[in-house]
Amino acid sequence: MSFLRRALAIAAKDLRSEIRSKESINASVAFALVILFLFSLAFDPTSDEVREIAGGLLWLVFAFAGTLILNRSFARELVNDCLDALLASPVSGAQLYLGKVIANFVILMVVEALSMPVFSIFYNVHWKDAQTIWIFVGVMLLGTWGLTVIGTLFSAMTVNLRLRELMLPMLVYPMMIPALMGAITLSALLVAGEPLGADNQIWFRLLVAFDVIFTLLSLAFVETVLVG
Amino acid sequence: MDRNFEYMFYGFTAAWLIVIIYVIWIALRERRLRDELDRVKRMLEDQEREAKK
């Protein structure tokens, strides 16, 4: 039980720091809105074809904006040797990692929640009914967890590298592809108002499997990555 | 159908070319590494000779 408590303590520290400075959230939301706008230049938002892919575009926006948050996640600990202090503390690497994953998850969910109204307006989304919205929130939760789990691990891996800001996106995007695919397929259907058939259940299962597998793998390896 | 000989030729050429380029790259790297090893060994010998004086 103390595992979770310590992880939550780390998460609370990160969230408190973020609420006070708002650096990641501001940058991320601004970036998301700019990209949403840029996509609307490339694809005519009102046409029917775009309605089909709008859900997919949304997840690209989340992935790009999320990288900003993930990059900051461990990088902010480099100042004043905070990372060394954290690693030397009784908090284990896995607890530190889980805490940061939870914090990044919350921040990214906030960014997504702020982007959704803008997205709905820009792309003329008609939400079919309340159930569709709830399922969409579910997909957002699953997909965002997948992104943050992988992204935070790679943030830990690249924290001391040269060219950190370049290496993180380059390493992380191929890894995220299964989660992105699941989220994109489901979102595209939900946003377009089409029914989720039985053969789309597999994407839910993929998202859950991805989340479980990579959470376990990351927790197993994060100690190696951080400490040695 | 001309039995698609042209593309078969492209295919085999591409495969062999990649292997050959890779082997050449390895060979060049080997030469560069050996030169550097000799250079570092010589530098070390010079240093020890200087230290003995």
């Binding site: 691990l153 891996m157 690249t158 590298l161 040269r162 060219l163 290496m167 380059m170 390493l171 191929p174 890894m175 592809i177 299964p178 695919m181 699941g182 397929t185 053969d199 789309n200 597999i202 994407w203 993929l206 499997a209 991805f210 597998i213 990579f214 793998l217 390896f221 190696t224 990555v225 040695g228 | 159908m1 001309d2 039995r3 698609n4 000989f5 593309y7 078969m8 492209y10 295919g11 085999f12 591409a14 495969a15 990649i18 292997v19 890779y22 082997v23 390895i26 790297r29 080997e30 590494l33 050996r34 550097e36 090893l37 570092v40 060994k41 530098m43 070390l44 240093q47 230290a51």
Partner: protein, 227 residues
């Protein structure tokens, strides 16, 4: 001793490949619908199979490093991954050329070729990361973890793209050249797999020797600069 092994393997591989080429070009008949181009498959399939399995072997080598902290396993992992990367590139390019004939287009978003492309991207990141780290043990540690993640992910990516593409069918046909091949056509395939394995082992041994030279240089430099 090791040099002799490398030379032996290379000669055997070369001989086998040459003999196979003779068989492929002269003895095996043309396939019904594709004409002669399907013979590219005799390189495409062995390259695909060997490179794919090499990535997993490298993953295990990385795991052994994490257990033993012996840098030789990291050198082996890096060498195996590099050779596997080259042969994955061969797989991709021969697949594209073959696809040009079968599907009429260079790229068809077929599950296998797409997952291979993503695999190449992941391992390109692996090599970039290795170049960015100077300290050998740290490089080995992070490489091993990345190797595990990439190998696990490539399986998941493959499955997910397969499901994705069954829902969004494109001009895709299964490259199931294996099913329904006439008996005389299969043998060169397996001989080629063997030949590729030998060739790859020879290349890996050469690369590993280069890694040890590299680490010798680094340690000599450290010794030299210590004064």
């Amino acid at each position: 001793m090791r040099t002799k092994l490398i030379i032996l393997l290379s000669v055997l591989a070369g001989g086998l490949l040459a003999w196979n080429l003779h068989t492929i070009f002269l003895k095996v008949p043309d396939e019904a619908s594709q004409g002669a181009v399907f013979r590219v498959f005799y390189f495409h399939f062995p390259a695909a199979v060997t490179s794919f399995s090499c990535f997993f072997v490298a993953m295990f080598s990385g795991l052994v490093y994490l257990r033993t902290r012996n840098l030789r396993y990291d050198a082996a992992a890096a060498a195996i991954n590099e050779v596997a990367f080259t042969f994955a590139l061969i797989t991709l390019i021969t697949g594209m050329i073959w696809g040009r004939i079968i599907w009429g287009i260079w790229w068809a978003w077929d599950p296998r070729i797409t997952s291979y492309f993503i695999c190449l991207l992941m391992y390109f990141g692996y090599f970039m990361m290795r170049r960015a780290i100077d300290e050998p043990h740290r490089r080995a540690r992070l490489s091993a973890v990345l190797s595990v993640l990439a190998s696990v992910d490539i399986v998941i990516v493959w499955k997910s793209i397969e499901w994705f593409r069954t829902q969004h069918p494109g001009p895709v046909l299964e490259i199931r050249g294996g099913g329904g091949m006439a008996p005389g056509m299969e043998a060169p395939l397996f001989w080629n797999v063997l030949a590729f394995l030998m060739l790859e082992t020879a290349l890996i041994l050469v690369r590993m020797r280069q890694q040890s030279i590299q680490s010798e240089i680094e340690s000599l430099r450290r010794y030299a600069h210590a004064f």
